[in-house]
Symmetry: C2
DNA sequence: TGTATATTTGACCCGTTGGTTAAATTTAAA
DNA sequence: TTTAAATTTAACCAACGGGTCAAATATACA
């Protein structure tokens, strides 16, 4: 092996990385096999040698991205720490993760809405039923104290994740509207600020909630 | 004028409606001029006669959609009613609007992130500076009482709009994960429930907020 | 070393897609 | 009714894009 190829590593990995980047940037329909090949430093035919079709390649990439997005979330919520700690940890970890992968949210959301079939693996990755059960049973006392019934869990959970995910999905809208958040650096600072803002907001709301 | 064309109205309008639908569904790259022509009941050449290029047509459509999305929001916040009333009105109106246009959020967010140049008109439509000034000066007392400084406004405003917009953007993710929200009817009910959940949540948080 | 197998490439194929053109038809005005 | 302008159409075009193929090269192993 005496290659000076840019970005060494076996071909399959290089393809996978290139494909991830291109799909994430341009979406499924906007992505071009040629560009993926170029970015992986290979021939287009070789691309099809490793992954028969664009769709096959896409599904593989998409699956991994879904996993990256959700595994951290779910693993934190499965830990044996107080509820409040979980929310804080979630916000901290997830926002840091999204700072490193800022385009992931719109990409996933968009592809999911465009082609729900790609999401066949979602149930295996997330297992929401188990997760909700886990959270609710482990923190029954606390949640009841906040007046959160089991039937409120969907509202609460969507609310919590929206604190981290939404601003990234709406990043360009925010950037265009709010002059105080023009560039990446400022946006990231804004999101780090948001960790505390969000957890204060959430816990103040829960404590004081109408029941 | 003795036409029996489906969906009467002048050609330009028909094109515009068809284009809106197709773009919203498939996104810019996924949309096909042929499909737009078909849906408008006309020839593809005629489409190019009215709108020179795909991009031109897209920009026109996108601009109008942005307007639809934001005008209601901003107009409510400009009214002369108490702050709490504004939040409630916003959530009510905006969620009802989005129930009628459920695909708008992902579409706008995605296209904005894919091609930020299409958004040149955003500043004219929204004028965030004015809006924030308007809100903050009109409700200075109340907001200060909640410990909201001017510099907190971006956090607060993003939070408020995320309550209505995010669940629609994440609709399919939610639908796939939460069995209690499989179909449209249930999702809409969930969102109507969310009006009260959100305003209670927001005001409890504000009242009890760490300063 | 020879040979089978895996990897890589350049050239090519063909359906799709945005866009054009010239001619036909309709509309409106003189 | 003539005629000029606006509207609509069918046929076409060139570029693009996913995918294939046969040949070339590298790798592994007997």
């Amino acid at each position: 092996m005496s290659k000076s190829d840019p970005a060494d590593g076996n071909t399959q990995e290089r393809i996978f990385e290139a494909a991830s980047a291109v799909f994430e940037e341009k979406g499924y329909t906007g992505a071009r096999m040629q560009e993926i090949a170029d970015r992986a430093g290979i021939n287009k035919a070789l691309l099809h040698y490793y992954f028969r079709t664009k769709e096959q390649l896409f599904k593989a990439v998409f699956q991994v991205m879904l996993k990256k997005m959700f595994q951290k979330i779910t693993s934190i919520f499965a830990e044996e720490i107080p509820f409040k700690e979980k929310i804080k940890r979630f916000l901290d970890d997830h926002i840091e993760f999204l700072i490193k992968n800022p385009k992931l949210p719109i990409f996933l959301l968009n592809e999911l809405s465009q082609n729900p079939s790609v999401s066949e693996g979602l149930k295996e990755i997330v297992n929401y039923d188990e997760l909700r059960e886990l959270i609710y049973s482990k923190h029954a006392k606390e949640l009841k104290g906040y007046g959160i019934k089991k039937s409120d869990m969907p509202q609460l959970m969507v609310t919590v994740v929206s604190f981290s995910i939404f601003p990234f999905a709406a990043r360009d809208m925010i950037r265009l509207m709010m002059p105080e958040i023009e560039d990446n650096k400022k946006f990231n600072a804004y999101m780090r600020e948001r960790k505390d803002f969000a957890s204060d907001f959430i816990f103040s709301a829960l404590k004081h909630r109408k029941k």
